[in-house]
Amino acid sequence: MTAAGVPARRSDGALARRLLIGLAVAVAFILLGLPLAIVIVEAFARGAWTYLAALTDQDTLDAIRLTLLVALCSVVVTTVFGVAAAWCIARFEFRGRSLLLTVIDLPFSVSPVIAGLVQVLLFGRRGWLGPFLEAHDIRIVFALPGIVLATVFVTLPFVARELIPLMQEQGAEEEEAALSLGASGWQTFLRVTLPNIRFALLTGVLLANARAMGEFGAVSVVSGHIRGATNTMPLQVEILFNDYQIEAAFAVASVLAMLALVTLGLKLALERKSDTHTHEERPT
């Protein structure tokens, strides 16, 4: 009875496993693969020439340039903040540590639109700092600084969240050893800490970059939608769509999608490399 039951159950398991895998693949295909394919197909619906013309439109080129600039600025801020925050949290016990952890996660739970509105309430003409900024002729909202700040808000957790668990797991022994052998704090960071976290750090940077390039909600609130000046690529996609330039909208969308795919590809390559690296260093 039991002997007959076990293989039967096993084949049940195999069936369930196949069903589940099939389901997961189907869902991934319908929800993720198909839309991506549609973007590419629609982008080329009127041929490669229309596609190229759409991408070399001046406003679109400006949107691409702005997106890359904003992503660069916000990734730098996110990285510096992320490393500093992860260091504090992983290495020290201090009052407000759990509060800091919660604050880092805030952008995951707060809607990006709120992040944008807060900028307007703070830096807008009628915001808290509005009169001060106006008196000194400083532009924050409806200009590059506001777009960067809004993007920083949504990308802030990515680097810190990648580093914290790793640094906690690694512990402080190697750093303490370096310090006790006479290394300065800066040397310790560059020679010991950074090499230990470099793969997680790069993963965090790549994820933050992908998020920064794709952000719509927060940027939409603070952008002012000035064509050729404050529109990032996601906003440009919406504008083109509403301008009845459907093919151009999909062309820009396809570039955005490709940038995301390149990012994911890099992340995958990085993970492979970090795996072999760990295996070489610590053979099991």
Binding site: V120, F123, R125, V141, F142, H225, I226, R227, N242, D243
Partner: protein
């Protein structure tokens, strides 16, 4: 020199043609080089951005109330509307119906919109200027039908909004809902927006129905004093809004389906714009300030007649 024109949604195609013509005219007059940047969005949302600090040298919005709000925030003189001819609106438009080919639901007049089984697409009057013109045009029709009885007109609007499956935030969004997503039997639209939709869908599928009477929509333009003073752009900004009134500017407006103010241009384009009885907001509703407070303020008549999902 560069100036920024903050405008509402359906003027995208209009200003894409106005701006180079204006630049060419300035260059031809031996004046400075000037480029005009554009920002488009829902009229109310755009006004909000200018109030919050978006540095528009010129605003070209869907209705006077939105520019009044910017003036109330201190960014331009309160008497802005008397500074340019024709109530500061160089072009006008009206509200018409866009239906599917053959007009299967036989929609001819405003009363047909409240029939059971007719789906009406109109954007949200809270965010869209065009939607406010739609609302007032329909309300006036409701009043006429009820012999001026306000309660009956409200009941008319309640029935109309029971036929509205979705409220988009802007006029262009509503147009795309109707044309691309295929929702609804009739779209209440700016005349210029309806013509443009016909032009964009060369394969057909739609036709325009002109109701016997509708509202004369007067989208206003203004130079934003605070911005042009600080940036030193007043001369160019002023020349820009005045260009809209020139024969060349008026002709570009007419070509983009905005009704020109100039009699000569209007005659030349007489065949394009159908004749219908047009009433102004001053005649029927006592101007925008009163209309806003009565119909669109929080808890006012629109909030009373519209029940989401109802």
């Amino acid at each position: 020199m560069e100036i920024l024109n903050v405008s509402y949604d359906p003027t995208r195609e209009l200003y894409r043609r106005i701006n180079p013509a204006f630049a060419a005219q300035l260059a031809g007059a031996g004046d400075i080089d000037a480029a005009v940047r554009m920002s488009h969005g829902g009229s109310g949302a755009q006004a909000r951005s200018v109030i919050d600090g978006l540095d528009a040298d010129v605003v070209t919005l869907a209705l006077a109330h939105d520019i009044d709000a910017i003036a109330a925030a201190g960014r331009l003189a309160k008497n802005w509307q008397s500074r340019l001819p024709e109530n500061s609106s160089p072009y006008t438009s009206t509200i018409v119906f866009l239906v599917r080919t053959g007009n299967p639901k036989k929609i001819r007049d405003w009363e047909d919109l409240v029939r059971p089984g007719v789906q009406v697409i109109t954007p949200n009057p809270k965010t869209s200027g065009g939607a406010r013109w739609n609302f007032l045009a329909a309300y006036a029709a409701g009043l006429d039908k009820a012999g001026g009885n306000d309660a009956q007109a409200r009941a008319f609007m309640k029935r109309l909004f029971q036929n509205v499956p979705v409220l988009d935030t802007g006029a262009r969004g509503a147009t795309l809902t109707f044309t691309r997503r295929g929702i609804g039997d009739v779209l209440l639209a700016w005349e210029n927006e309806a013509f443009l939709a016909m032009q964009e869908h060369t394969k057909g599928g739609f036709e325009i129905v002109i109701p016997p009477a509708s509202i004369l929509a007067e989208p206003p333009v203004a130079v934003v004093d605070q911005v042009v003073e600080r940036r030193g752009t007043r001369k160019v900004a002023q020349a820009y809004v005045e260009f809209l009134y020139t024969p060349e500017g008026q002709e570009i407006c007419a070509r983009n389906f905005y009704r020109p103010r100039s009699k000569a241009v209007a005659e030349a384009f007489g065949k394009v714009f159908p004749k219908l009885a047009l009433f102004t907001i001053e005649e029927r509703f006592g101007g925008w300030t009163r209309a806003h407070d009565t119909y669109f303020a929080d808890g006012a008549i629109f909030d009373q007649v519209y029940q989401p999902g109802g």
